[in-house]
């Protein structure tokens, strides 16, 4: 018997004596919906609130984003070629539209598309088929995820329903962090230290 057969055989033997087996319980979608943290007049407003609670940054204005990047001295980076038209008018900020791995530590920001966002948790949903380059969303200190307001869903359950068959889906909730050293929270570990969502109409 090979390993696979051994394991399946051992499982069947282990379960055979059970007189009855536990049924799969039914549960409503509402069971896991988080209580609202406040009153919001739109999913966008709720998302913005939760995103900042998770130390992320919300922008819905390209001008404001430009100002922020300049303030952070983040003036050279990468941008998804499909999004370049929104930002190519920027002055004092330049970007590649083809990711050059040799410049991985030179790109101070990466602008890529998000597939959706989740209002109840302030989460960005990234997909392989929508992210032009994985490293662009991961390596730079600043990651800007761009999405349309209509792609903000209310709950985690709804986001899961939108998975489709993409092989790599990421829920990103705020900047990377750790508390491994003495329980002290540090932001910006291996992933971005600043996580931005740019919501366009």
């Amino acid at each position: 018997m090979n390993d696979r057969e051994q394991i399946f055989s051992a499982i069947r033997e282990a379960l055979a004596p059970l007189p009855t087996k536990a049924a799969n319980p039914e549960w409503e979608d509402s069971l896991i919906v988080c209580k609202a943290s406040g009153e919001f007049d739109s999913l966008k407003a709720q998302f913005a609130d939760k995103l900042s609670f998770a130390s992320g940054k919300f922008f819905d204005s390209i001008e404001a984003l430009e100002e922020f990047l300049k303030k952070e001295d983040s003036t050279f980076g990468y941008c998804d070629p499909g999004l370049a038209e929104h930002f190519k008018h920027w002055s004092g900020i330049t970007f590649d539209t083809e990711y050059d791995e040799a410049k991985i530590n030179d790109y101070s920001f990466g602008i890529t598309r998000a597939s959706a966002a989740i209002a109840e948790s302030g989460t960005l949903m990234l997909k392989d088929s929508v992210t032009s380059a994985r490293l662009a969303a991961l390596a730079p200190w600043v990651h800007v995820a761009v999405l349309a307001e209509s792609d903000i869903v209310g709950t985690i359950g709804e986001a899961i329903q939108r998975f489709g068959d993409d092989p790599s889906i990421i829920f990103a909730t705020g900047p990377s962090k750790t508390a491994d050293i003495e329980g002290i929270l540090i932001e910006g570990v291996h992933g971005p230290g600043i996580q931005i969502a740019l919501v366009l109409p």
């Binding site: 948790s121 380059a133 985690i156 909730t173 750790t178 491994d180 329980g183 570990v189 291996h190």
Partner: protein, 475 residues
Amino acid sequence: MKTHQQIDRVARDLDPEVHEANFMGAKLKSERRYASLERDYPDPDKLREIAGLIKQHTLEHLDQYLEQTEASLQKNGVKVHFATDDEAVNAAVLRIMNETDSHSMVKSKSMITEEIHLLDYLEKNGKEVVETDLGEFILQIDGDHPSHIVTPIVHKNRRGIAKSFEREGLGDYNDDPETITRRARKYLRQKYLDADVGLTGANFVSAESGRIVLVTNEGNARFCMAANRVHIAVVGIEKLVPTDRDLGLFLNLIGRSGTGQQLTVYNQFVGGPRAEGQPHGPKEMHVVFVDNRRTEVLASDCREILRCIRCGACLNVCPIYRQSGGHAYRSVYPGPVGAVLSPLLAGNRFPELADLPKASSLCGACNEVCPVNIPIPDLLLRLRDKAKREGAKEAMKGTPNLGMWATLCSQPAMWKTALSMGHSMNYIPTQMIPNPSAKAWQAIRKLPKFQGGEFRKWFKNRNQGSEARSQNPTN
């Protein structure tokens, strides 16, 4: 006479700084867990109950779900392997590395790889392996082991880490946590870019879609799948859940239970190699499903422990863990979950760890915080029974010998004699009582005079009396 178990001795001798760090860390995480659940849900226990039932159902139909998972993964272009024990897993990983011409590996946190000592094996076979989770990286350069399943270096402080970094050539002594983190970021970034293989564990696997789920905060697991050619996931067979929808429930529980976060920063759902047109990421993905005695646990009367999603909540709330720290459990899994799982995963070395289930007051706090509602105190009792029946010597030290009690109970004449003679203990000087437990008992008590036997007399006579009465109806 006091008996100290090994865990008592470790707690007694624990460095006060380590004790403080461990205790305060556990307390904080427990408080955050509670606060986040109460804030976000009207009835958090309902979620725990349902999650527990889903996991139990999955375990009791594990052959079906494992088959379904294998099929889903293969449909996505993933190569699926099975390994019965630690040797098999290590051999499989090495073989995959050799077949893909891979020399170097970056790995993200995985407790199962601690079980099988994967790092040591690969290094002995000439491969370079780098731990990328910050805590695990620090442990690797120190030749140390995790003391908690979620926050592995809770027993270390910044000064020790700074010294280690200096020793490894990562910069002059600097114990500022932010500086330490930045240095690790820079050093490990080059390792990610140079590595051939990225290895991960998996927190969950969806049988429906074949997606493995990674629950992290640092971004290291993402990086293990951004610049490498091959991704290998080593996964215990008990990690399955039926559907993607179920993941919504488990992800809402695991972050809050472990650290009080609604969601950890990154939840990755990895279904296969990179998508068509994606320039970065592995072109090849392997999943190795591992048994390593999990089927033995499945066959035992402690199978509920396999529901565990490794959140660490039971550790954080346990009064024993808070005093002794994780290393005191002498095994990969510490705390209440470890007290059940470690002796069972030890197989025929069960007696060596059979004292762990005794390290509990059965307060039940662990079950109350468990996101999958594992009845840990019940399991601890079953394991204590197992240890007794199998005569596990170390574990049984200090357990009173109940053989005499059993004899007395089963012989009515002996029982009666013992009762009526019992109070004569009052006339024996306490110091002269040979049995230590009896001596301790008698030292602070005075047994009352035996005034009993009335019920037995009455009962015996009652029968005779009723016969007499039935012959004399006028009475």
